[in-house]
Every structure is written in structure tokens, then in C-alpha cells.
Symmetry: none
Subunit: 227 residues, 2 copies
Amino acid sequence: MTDIFWNDELQRWAMDEAPTQSNEYSSSPEGAASTIASKNIVSERNRRKNLNDKLLELRGAVPRISKLDKASTIKDAIDYIQDLQEQERNLQAEIMELESESLKKDPGFDFEEELPILLRSKKSRCDQIYDHRVPMSHPIKVHELRVNSMGENTLFVSLTCSKDGDAMIKICDIFESMKLKIITANVVIVSGMVMKTVLIEADMGERDNLKIKIERAISAVSDHWST
Amino acid sequence: MTDIFWNDELQRWAMDEAPTQSNEYSSSPEGAASTIASKNIVSERNRRKNLNDKLLELRGAVPRISKLDKASTIKDAIDYIQDLQEQERNLQAEIMELESESLKKDPGFDFEEELPILLRSKKSRCDQIYDHRVPMSHPIKVHELRVNSMGENTLFVSLTCSKDGDAMIKICDIFESMKLKIITANVVIVSGMVMKTVLIEADMGERDNLKIKIERAISAVSDHWST
DNA sequence: AAGCACACGTGAGAC
DNA sequence: TGTCTCACGTGTGCT
């Protein structure tokens, strides 16, 4: 593997310390030609070393390396740069949403698809950054799950559980996977507990069904929990 | 500038289309040796072309280019990657700040006057706009009032009532008048109902007291205005 | 002219 | 075994 480089470096060192113009074929047997040839040789050697050092440094700057090739290094760098650019776009979009969310002042107006930002921002950030790093940790320990009817076709869901590992991400995943008609969603973490409050458009007859669906979805991602 | 590459490409094309083994010095004048030599030559040529293409693609992915060198391309890519990483860190820190600003998570800290933003914004907005316009309307018809304990010193209050007149303003007034240590507050109006979700710093022993206090405050406001 | 950047062909080593 | 990757020395062209 790296022995290649080391061998080559040693070779280069040896030739550097002994600049014997070994293979000069003496088109004109003057000493000047050989000296400019060796100058060229050592210059080229330095240029190559510089380029290889840069390439190695580039490899060090890229966290995900597929192979140790030169081409793979560059390809990984390209992919990583594109990933970073996309992540930067997502983060800036999320910041925009958060800023406009923090000074959102008129509740009950047009929050049909503006308010589930919390779920969408979760998908665009946590999934790409943390999801593959923490694939499966503790199961979710549900502390309380309530489903109440509000008005005629609105259900109010409140789910609190202990914040173990990535419980918040899992909860968001659960609610996202259920394809509900979410009106508003709110997640709060306080004193080791994560609480999610969701308003869903549904008939009040679906209240008990929804509770069972949520429980099943939770048990699907976490094996067991204590009521 | 790029004429260098083009010239080289043309040279390569010419040599590709006419694979005349021009400079075979015939160490052994058999055809096999020359064929494997040319195989090596064209293979190396493809490898170099691939690497150069990758490098060119990398240059295309980096927006800021200092020079058109190979080494400069790699160096610019490294600098750009480090810039992106630092920007990503900054953006994530900003998001963390925004998130923890919108939902303050540490009970018992210093959120006495930072977190009731919702109430303060209400006061500075609703009071000035609506308060003197609709001073007396219907009493508040409470649909549900729950007070649960969350963790050790946190109470979770959920109050839903019919949105008659300025129920939302009254509710905000009620919660503001109680001088509670509010961690987060959330108000949602949907289908003729107004729902307020509040997290309060308090001992769980105060749960029932708080419920009674809220009920009395509601009745006090309602009595004072219309009932 | 001296310096620089590049592509080329070639032998060597690793898989 | 062949195939892949690499560093090397060299010639060429640009500045």
C-alpha cells in the first residue's frame, strides 16, 4: 500500500543525495547539458512531490475515502464537495424557515403546509448528517400518549417519552411515516423528556384508531416500552 | 492556456487512431512484445486521461480558482472544502441557537424574561391593536383543561376552548397574569377552537393547585368582563 | 534564456 | 498470469 510511496521516496532521496548523472546519453558531451538535465530532473521531482503532497492533503481533508487511488481521491473530493454544497443549501433554507418561524405571529391563518417545517427540516438535516451515524440505539420509552378530539375533524395528539438516544428523530420519523394530514407539529425537549404535540386533520371517530396506529408505529421502531 | 490540453489531446487522438508503434526500440523484435507494450501505453494513456478529467471535474466543482495549475486546483479544492466545513459548523451552530431560542430547554435557568416572547409579542401586538376594540365579548367556554407533570419540576398545561370573540387574547392575558415561569408556549387556532400548550417550571406537587389557579383566573376574567 | 507545467513512454511493484 | 497504479526521466511548448 503505502510502501509504494515510501519506496519511491527513498529512491528519490537516494538520487537526490547522489546527483550522479547516470543515464545521460551525451548528445553533446559537455558538462553543461548534463547539469541542466539534472536541474530539470530535480525540478520535475519537486513538482511531482508537491503535487502528491497536495493530493495527500486533499485526501486528509475528505472524511469519506473509497480507495487510496489518486483518481478515487479526487472523485471522493468531488462528491464530498457536492455533498457539502447541498448540505449548505439545506442548512441555509432551514435557517430561513426557522427565522421566519420564530417571528410567525398570526396563528390560524394559512398554516396548511408551512407549519410542518419541523418535520421537513428534520428530514433534510438529521437524516443526512446523523441518520447513518446512529442507525439503531435505545428503544423509545413512551411516557404518555394521548389522542383527543378537537372540534369536528381535528385530532390532538400529545406524545411524551424519555429522551434516550435519538428519540426525537425517531418520533419525527414515526409521525412522518404515518402520512397524516398534519396541521401543526411541535417538539419540545425539557428535563430529559421529549414531547411532541401534533394537530391532525381527521374525524373524531378515528381517535382510537389513531392511538392504536401510533402505538403500533412506535412499537415497530422500538421493541417495547413501559406505559 | 488550455491549448496545452487540446494539443495534447490531439496528439493522443492521433496516436490512438494510428497505433503505429513508432518508438519501439526492439529489445526483442517479436510482435508480441510490441503489442503488450502498446497495450501498456494505451492503458497508461487512458489512466492519465481519466485522472485529468477528474481533476478538471474537481476544478469545475470549486467555485474559486486561483490558477489553472494542477497543484493550484487541488489546493483551491482543499481550501474550499475547509471553508465549507467551517461554514457548515457555523450554520449548525446558528440553527442550534435558533432552535434553542424558540424552544428553551433548560428549566431553572434564566428564562424569566426571554421566553414569554409569545406573551410579550401578544401584549405588544394584540393589546395595541385589538384590546380596546373588543373589550367585552363572550365568556370563555373551556372545552378541556389538563395539567400533567413532566419530569421532576415541569408542568405541562393544555387548555382548549371555543374561539368566541377574543378568547385567544384572553387566554394569553390569563397566562400572563399568573406570572408563571413559562418555558415554552404555543397557541393554535383551528376549526373554531383555540388551543394553548404551555410548559411551566413548577414542582409536580403544584399540579392540582395550578389547575385550580387557572380555572379561577379564567372565571375571574370571564366574570369581570361579561359573566 | 532560464524556469515552469505538462504529457509521454517505460519499468517496477502490488493484487 | 495479466492488469492496475505509480514514479521516473525526458521532450515540448509557453512565459
